[in-house]
Structure formats: structure tokens, C-alpha cells
Symmetry: C2
């Protein structure tokens, strides 16, 4: 029994109204793996880096209980690098540099002892690679969660639709739900997307929280109102990692557990944006996480009748 996370492990250079970083460690699998590690301890990662990736960072994964046997290190090659600049409202950003490097021909090799995977987190990546991972698992995991983005809708819609058919939970943002469905109303968008394969759809709305759709049910999760968002990079990956980490911990896939998983994922994401990169989510205590979850409970609870 384990949780397999695939996605990028990479370098980012980030500029926000609050400051600027040099190359720091980022990537969907990095954020998702670290976030999941607060809830579950059998996490395995499949990703690729170049030999420029610091050994200390890999040791940090291991310290968080993340198995890195499936992290390929390509000699003489460079890790994926993304650089972006956030606008003043922190809701929009410009991509300055995308150097695919090792990602250009990433072949996701699944080590033999990863075949006990019961929970699969397909972090944001080429839909083709996400699909390959599913195909290489001998047993279909109990729960497959897929994160993706508008970029793949623009350039690889057919692949995306094929991959979406194979997953249980899809996480996308509101603009992406509209793009994928061609519907402006999120309710109509959700109805359409739930006919495309996934049994659950999570629509991430950033500072407005998230919606979970399943059959004819909806759950609306709040976002914690924050005085300052320092760096939004990785918040969506952190959310997804916290979500599946919590699901792996409780072990039963149903709507009620997913509601809680969204709250735990949102709590982790609210930490993520408080510092640059992974700085905050690398160094949380269980007490801090529990207290933050209680803030979400306080924030949204009311008693009627």
C-alpha cells in the first residue's frame, strides 16, 4: 500500500511584488509530495531531474518519508526550469522562461516496488505521460487524482480527454473548467465534465475556495482570508497533495471523506503561499497543521435550527 506521486521536480525563479528569488526548488511533485507527507508516510515519487539538482534536496524528500527510488537523475542534463513574474493582484502571472531540459523526453519508469500503489496523484504534466503511468501500473489504483492546466487544453486536448477518462478525481481551476466544458456556469460545466470520466470534480477558485462536485452533490469549501499572499507558486499542487495524502490516510473513498480532504488540502495550500517556494510547507509541525484546520472549521461553521 502506497501513494505514488508523479509530476515535475524542478527549479523555479519567482518574482512577486514582495521580492524575487534565484533558482529555488519547485515542481508539482515536490509540492504535492511534501504536502501529502503530513498525512501519510508511504509516499513514492516518479519524476526526472538533471545532475544539477542538489542532493540535499533529495535528502529532504527522504526526511519527509518520501521514497525517491523513482526519481531519475540524468547525468549531464539539466533539470526543468520555470521562471515567472506575478502581477500586483497575485492572481495573474507572466511566464518568463520555460526550459524543458530533462522533461522533454521524460519516460516515467515505475520501480517494481512501487507496484503496491493504491493512491495515484498525477501532478500537472503532459497528459500523455500521466496516461503512460496509469498504463504501467499492474493493478489499477483505488483512487487516481489528476491535476492539469489550460496549457494542455490548448495544445493537447485529445490526449487530455483520453487521460481524463481514466481518473477518479480531476482538479482544475474555474477558468479551466469553463474552457474544458465550454460552459460559463460552473454547475453546468461540472455536469458536463462528470460525463467525461471523472466521478469527482474539484474546481479550485483560489482566494474564493473550492467546489467539489459528485453526482448531484456539491460541497463548497472556503479559502482562508489572508492578509498577505507572498508567493502563490505551488498552491494548487500543495492542495492536491494534501487532498490525496488525507484520502490515503483515511483509506475510504467517499464524498464525506473528500470534503475533509479538501479542507486539509486547503489548509496546506494556505501555508504554501505565506513564503517563497517550499520554504513554509517543508517545515510545518503537526500542531500547526491541526491549528490551521481548526481555523477553517471556525471560518465556515454556523448552527441553524
Amino acid at each position: 500500500m502506497s501513494l505514488l506521486v508523479i509530476g515535475t521536480v524542478a527549479f523555479d525563479a519567482i518574482e512577486t511584488p514582495f521580492g524575487k528569488t534565484d533558482k529555488i526548488v519547485g515542481g508539482a511533485a515536490t509540492y504535492a509530495g511534501l504536502a501529502a507527507s503530513y498525512f501519510y508516510d508511504k509516499i513514492k515519487i516518479v519524476a526526472v531531474v538533471g545532475d544539477d539538482f542538489p542532493e540535499g534536496e533529495i535528502a529532504d524528500f527522504n526526511k519527509h518519508g518520501i521514497d525517491t527510488e523513482g526519481l531519475q537523475i540524468k547525468k549531464g542534463e539539466k533539470s526543468f526550469f520555470w521562471s515567472g513574474k506575478y502581477h500586483n493582484d497575485m492572481n495573474s502571472r507572466d511566464t518568463l522562461i520555460t526550459d524543458l531540459n530533462v522533461l522533454a523526453d521524460f519516460d516515467p519508469i515505475i520501480p517494481e516496488n512501487y507496484q503496491d500503489c493504491e493512491y495515484l496523484m498525477l501532478g500537472n504534466l503532459t497528459p500523455q505521460v500521466q496516461q503512460t503511468v496509469i498504463g504501467r501500473l499492474k493493478n489499477r489504483p483505488k483512487l487516481i487524482v489528476m491535476d492539469t492546466m489550460n496549457f494542455w487544453m490548448d495544445i493537447a486536448m485529445d490526449d487530455l480527454l483520453t487521460t481524463i477518462k481514466m481518473v477518479d478525481v480531476l482538479t482544475i481551476n474555474d477558468a479551466e473548467a469553463r474552457q474544458l466544458s465550454g460552459e460559463y456556469s460552473l454547475v453546468k460545466a461540472a455536469r458536463k465534465i462528470l460525463t467525461m470520466g471523472p466521478k469527482y470534480l474539484i474546481i479550485k477558485k483560489g482566494e474564493h475556495g473550492a467546489l467539489l462536485f459528485h453526482e448531484d452533490k456539491v460541497f463548497s469549501a472556503p479559502a482562508l482570508p489572508l492578509a498577505e499572499v507572498f508567493d502563490p507558486t505551488g498552491a494548487g499542487d500543495t492542495f492536491a497533495g494534501g487532498f490525496i495524502g488525507y484520502m490515503a490516510k483515511v483509506g475510504t473513498v467517499n464524498f464525506n471523506n473528500m470534503k475533509n480532504a479538501i479542507i486539509f488540502g486547503s489548509a496546506l495550500a494556505s501555508f504554501c503561499v505565506e513564503k517563497f517556494g517550499t520554504e513554509k510547507i517543508k517545515n510545518l509541525t503537526e500542531t500547526e497543521v491541526a491549528a490551521r484546520v481548526q481555523e477553517f472549521v471556525q471560518l465556515s461553521s454556523f448552527q441553524i435550527g
Copy 2:
């Protein structure tokens, strides 16, 4: 003991992607009064119309238990008229016509038997008129709720700031909170606005719900995800009316009751947008309202621990 509602009683002509109306009855006091009537039965209205305003509509107010002694009818004059067209996303609109008519020199006369007012809803109007009403009440109401909009921030900021100082609860939308405070973060905006007079601030976020700020506490209320928004006109007024109507019903002003009041206000507002104008909120049953409130409970409840 009564709830006094001031605001416009008017005609609107509305165009949305779903259709178009001729002159229909609208106005902040109309929506707020009708919404409040589902929770409280001693509602009194102060407003002004011309003699073009249909007697049947006034009779409808009375049928909802709304006292119209304070509704001035100006002989030979015309009622306030607004015409607008909503864009496809229903979140933005263009004003096509604003004919102030009787509103141009509205003097809000308070009938003597309105002086038992304990709850005061200052619907969206010139801040100067809102202020005059407070001044003309012999006893300060137990709870004053004020709704306003960016228009008054643009042309009458000083008056607005004076009026804001005198109220307990301010309801504005997120863009208006940012404009009023000069802060982008809604948490920082709320902190600043809570130093301007109001003890409670409600930030309305439309399809993203509402936030209630008080001292260092925050409550996040969801919005009901709707497949179709037919006509958003009056949703904010309906919300405010439902809010204060519920507060008048429970009779105790505190944070927990306000959380519930926001849910009841949101439930009424979710009905409002389902039809043109007041059509839907004029004809609700108690059972329908109770069922809708239960949808809000289902929508946002989760059990952790």
C-alpha cells in the same frame, strides 16, 4: 418595535442574455422589504414614488405585512427609473438610463408611529439621505445596517464616510471594499473599514459567497452554485433585507446570529436571481425558504475530528 427600511422604490427595465423586460417594479427598499418580510412582520418603509406607481404594487407590500405609511406618492411626478443591460457573464452590466425623477429631492419623512424602530435598513441611496433618516429617529436603533455602492464613493466620499461612522453593519462588494480602503487584500481592507465606524463588515462576493468581519473574527458564507442566473438585479438588496429581517426576528445582535442571518440573506438572494425582478421573491412559501436554507447547510458542512 419595528424594522424600518429606507431605499428606492422604483421602476427598472432590464436586459439579460435570457430576455428583456419592460418597466417592472424594483428598487432597493422593494427588494429588501420583501426579503425581510419572510422573517419579520413589523416592517415599515420610507421611500418616494410618483403617481405613475401602480396601486396594486403598494397593495402587494401590504399583503407582505409591510407598512407603507412612509411611502410618499408625489402627484404629477414620475418614479425613479433605471435601465440596464447585463453582459454575458452576468457579473458586469451597463447602465442605459437613470431618471432620478422624484428621487432628485427626496426628503425622507418619518411618520410618528415609525419612531418605535429598533432595526434600521439603510438601503442603497445618497449617503446624505441615509444620514438624515438616522438623525430623524428619536432613539438610536439597536441595529443599523447600511448598504451602499461605488457610485457614492466616486461622487460623495465625504458624506459616505460620515454616514458609515454612524452604522453598525456595512454591506459592500469586494471591489467596493478595495475602493473604500485602498487595500487589495480583503483582510487588510476589512481591518481598515472596521476602524471607520462599523462594528461589522459584510463583503458580498456574488457567486463566491460573502465574508463577515467583526473584531478579529471572520465568517465565510458560501453561495449556492446555480446552473442559471436569470437576472441579478436586486440580489444585494434582497440579501441585505433577508439579513436584517432575520436579525430582527432573533432579536439579539451578536456574531453567531449574524452568521445565520447571512445564510438566510444568501438563501433569499439565490431565489431572487432565478426570475426577473421581484417575481420570485414575492411568491415564496416558508417551506421553500426553509428547504433552500437546508441546501446551504448541506453545501458547506463537514465533520472533522
